[in-house]
């Protein structure tokens, strides 16, 4: 009950102020056409990741053995698409339905990448803001630690850790989380340092607000928008990182389907051209590309609006 009254007290009807000359600028996001299409593509893949198993005609490790009439198929590997069997993109190198594996793989690829990015953000922002606020030796130690992680090319750190510990899904999440927490830390720390020297923080300090109040009411809200935009880019990097490891055969292990591993498993079909099994390797590659390009275009759209690119001002 108290919630509703508080909310109503804050802004009874925000629309009536819009026509006043000193009305706050509208911060509503308007996406371009490309941005809107990209949002639809990302929403499509997320939806598929959520309800995929309900749609997929077959299980992710189901072998197609019989044709429409129930007769056994001689060679089910790299079969052409067959609408009667609901094998829309053909079969893979050992006769599993490619369409079903892409649908199942959406859950693996997007799920792992999303959790890893969340982990990277949680760790990176917490430590980054802590370093910016605390300064001194906390900052020095954390920054040197991050420098050490960033001294490795991402994929090398991945190869070395997987060589030592073997690959598993929790390890992949931890690995991507660790690698990208380092770059999130840098951004969060830089943003935090910028905000900590602003007048409004000094004012809050002067009127005796505690450290926690300053962090939660001044630093975090002001850092939120740049960090949110960066989340999209970071998610793309994580998807590319995990798909590349899977593509090298060091990421998600069979029989679990995952887009990166699907491309690798079916590489041999590529030599036969589109008519002879190349689809099994192209379609998962297209799935990754459509998702990562779409996220990138959305981020581009948002940041072009927020900052206004230099190129536009030039003419």
């Amino acid at each position: 009950m108290s919630d509703t009254t508080a909310a109503a007290g804050q802004s009874p009807n925000p629309d009536i102020y819009d026509e006043l000359p000193d009305a706050p600028p509208k911060s509503r996001l308007r996406l371009s056409m490309v941005g809107k299409v990209s949002v639809v593509i990302v929403a499509f893949w997320v939806l598929l990741a959520l309800i995929g198993p309900l749609i997929a005609p077959y299980g992710e490790s189901h072998f197609i053995e019989d044709d429409v009439l129930g007769n056994p198929i001689d060679d089910p590997s790299f079969m052409l698409p067959d609408m009667g069997l609901h094998v829309y993109f053909g079969t893979d190198y050992i006769g599993r339905d490619v369409f079903s594996r892409i649908v199942w793989g959406a859950r693996t690829t997007i799920g792992i990448s999303f959790i890893a990015t969340l982990l990277a953000y949680f760790v990176g922002i917490t430590l980054g803001i802590a370093a910016a606020v605390a300064g001194k030796w906390t900052d020095a130690i954390l920054s040197r630690l991050v420098d050490a992680i960033l001294a490795f090319p991402n994929i090398m750190l991945g190869l070395i850790i997987i060589a030592a510990f073997g690959s598993s899904i929790p390890l992949l999440i931890f690995l991507a989380g660790l690698v990208y927490a380092a770059s999130v830390f840098r951004i969060a720390r830089a943003l935090g340092q910028d905000i900590m020297v602003q007048d409004y923080v000094e004012a809050a300090r002067a009127r005796g607000e505690g450290l926690w109040w300053v962090i939660s009411r001044e630093v975090l809200p002001n850092a939120a928008m740049p960090l949110a935009t960066d989340f999209g880019l970071r998610l793309v990097f994580v998807i590319l990182f995990i798909s590349s490891l899977s593509f090298l055969g060091l990421g998600v292990q069979p029989p679990i389907s995952d887009w990166g591993s699907m491309v690798r498993e079916n590489l041999q079909g590529l030599g036969n051209g589109i008519g002879g099994g190349a689809l099994a390797s192209i379609t998962p590659a297209l799935a990754i590309a459509s998702l990562t390009i779409a996220i990138n275009l959305i981020v581009d759209d948002i940041s072009a609006q927020a900052g206004g690119s230099l190129a536009k001002k030039m003419n």
């Binding site: 420098d147 050490a148 001294a151 490795f152 090319p153 991402n154 994929i155 090398m156 190869l159 070395i160 850790i161 997987i162 060589a163 030592a164 510990f165 073997g166 793309v236 590319l240 798909s243 590349s244 593509f247 090298l248 055969g249 060091l250 990166g260 491309v263 690798r264 590489l267 590529l270 030599g271 036969n272 051209g273 589109i274 190349a278 390797s281 192209i282 590659a285 990754i288 590309a289 990562t292 390009i293 996220i295 990138n296 275009l297 581009d300 230099l310 190129a311 536009k312 030039m314 003419n315």
Partner: protein, 316 residues
């Protein structure tokens, strides 16, 4: 002033190299647990365990193991492969030249290409050519390297039959024959690396274009092309050299995927195979080579930007 900064940066570089070696050692040899125990499994008797530990040099404390390992590394003794029993020098020796050859050609093609395209895009911002370049490169940096590779395979090797899809070198080919065999991996790497470099070059020049002295030149009525070529480009050289070194460092990750997809017998393929068989000494050695190259290239990038900053050249 400037030499101090450079020396300081080199010092940091050396410390980073040391940190990288400690981390590689710790991650592969200390954290995973007792390698002798893992290799012998449950049936190990205390005697065989002790014998194998002694043979692998695990019977001394870990920091002494690090000293021994580092000493061997510096004297060029990289150890013995856990998988085949061959010395790692012999395995790497065959492969390292292949990787250097391929990345060298990629650098020779991609650097002039990207600087030219980046410059062209920056000269006509917002126009058709710029839009094609920025949209195209945005798309390319957003997709995985293997995506570019499989489309090139499909188009150039499978459909048109112009070049081989697998890059096998016997070692007896001449230069042009080798380039022909390597056409696809080289093309893939050039596309992937250039996309990044073009964007950064364009951004670097546009960044300089925003500074007050350029505004002054525009107001004076200096023609646009002259502003870019005479005023902006000279000041953008530092950032551009920085971009080039950073992207050569990026090649270190690029070759891992590309050598694997084309089955090219290079160092990265050797390392990926080593990871698959969990051949720790091999992974340690290859990892050190790649990570040191990376750290050194980043160091070169930083020194380039220090040296090209005219404000540091004439200290007040």
């Amino acid at each position: 002033m400037m030499s101090q900064l450079v020396i300081r940066r080199i010092g940091i570089g050396i410390i980073l190299l040391w940190v990288v070696s400690v981390l590689i050692f710790a991650l592969t040899q200390v954290l995973p647990g007792d390698a002798a125990q893992i290799r012998l499994g449950q049936q190990a008797t205390p005697e065989t365990l002790a014998a194998l530990r002694k043979e692998l040099g695990l019977d001394i404390p870990w920091y002494m193991q690090y000293v021994v390992w580092m000493g061997n590394l510096l004297s060029g003794n990289l150890g013995i492969s856990a998988a085949g029993g061959a010395t790692i020098e012999s395995l790497i020796g065959n492969r390292i030249g292949n990787t250097v050859f391929m990345t060298g050609i990629v650098a020779l093609i991609s650097i002039p290409l990207s600087v030219t395209l980046g410059l062209l895009a920056a000269m006509f911002p917002g126009q058709l050519l710029d839009r094609i370049i920025t949209t195209g490169t945005l798309g390319l940096i957003a997709v995985p390297d293997f995506f570019v590779a499989i489309f090139l395979i499909l188009l150039l090797a499978v459909s048109l039959g112009l070049v081989p899809a697998v890059s096998y070198l016997s070692g007896t080919e001449g230069f042009w024959k080798s380039v022909y065999v390597l056409a696809l991996p080289i093309a893939t790497l050039v596309i992937v690396v250039s996309a990044q470099m073009i964007r950064m070059t364009r951004a670097g020049i546009l960044n300089v274009m925003g500074s007050p002295y350029i505004e002054m030149a525009i107001l004076k009525g200096v023609p646009r092309k002259r502003i870019i070529l005479r005023h902006a480009l000279l000041n953008a050289i530092g950032p551009i050299v920085n971009v080039i070194a950073l992207n050569l460092a990026y090649l270190v990750s690029g070759v891992v995927v590309i050598e694997t997809i084309f089955a090219y017998p290079g160092l990265a393929k050797l390392m990926v195979d080593g990871v698959q068989t969990r051949d720790i000494p091999l992974v340690q050695a290859c990892g050190m080579i790649f990570c040191c190259t990376y750290v050194i290239l980043i160091l070169v990038a930083d020194i380039a930007s220090i040296l090209s900053n005219p404000r540091l050249r004439h200290p007040k």
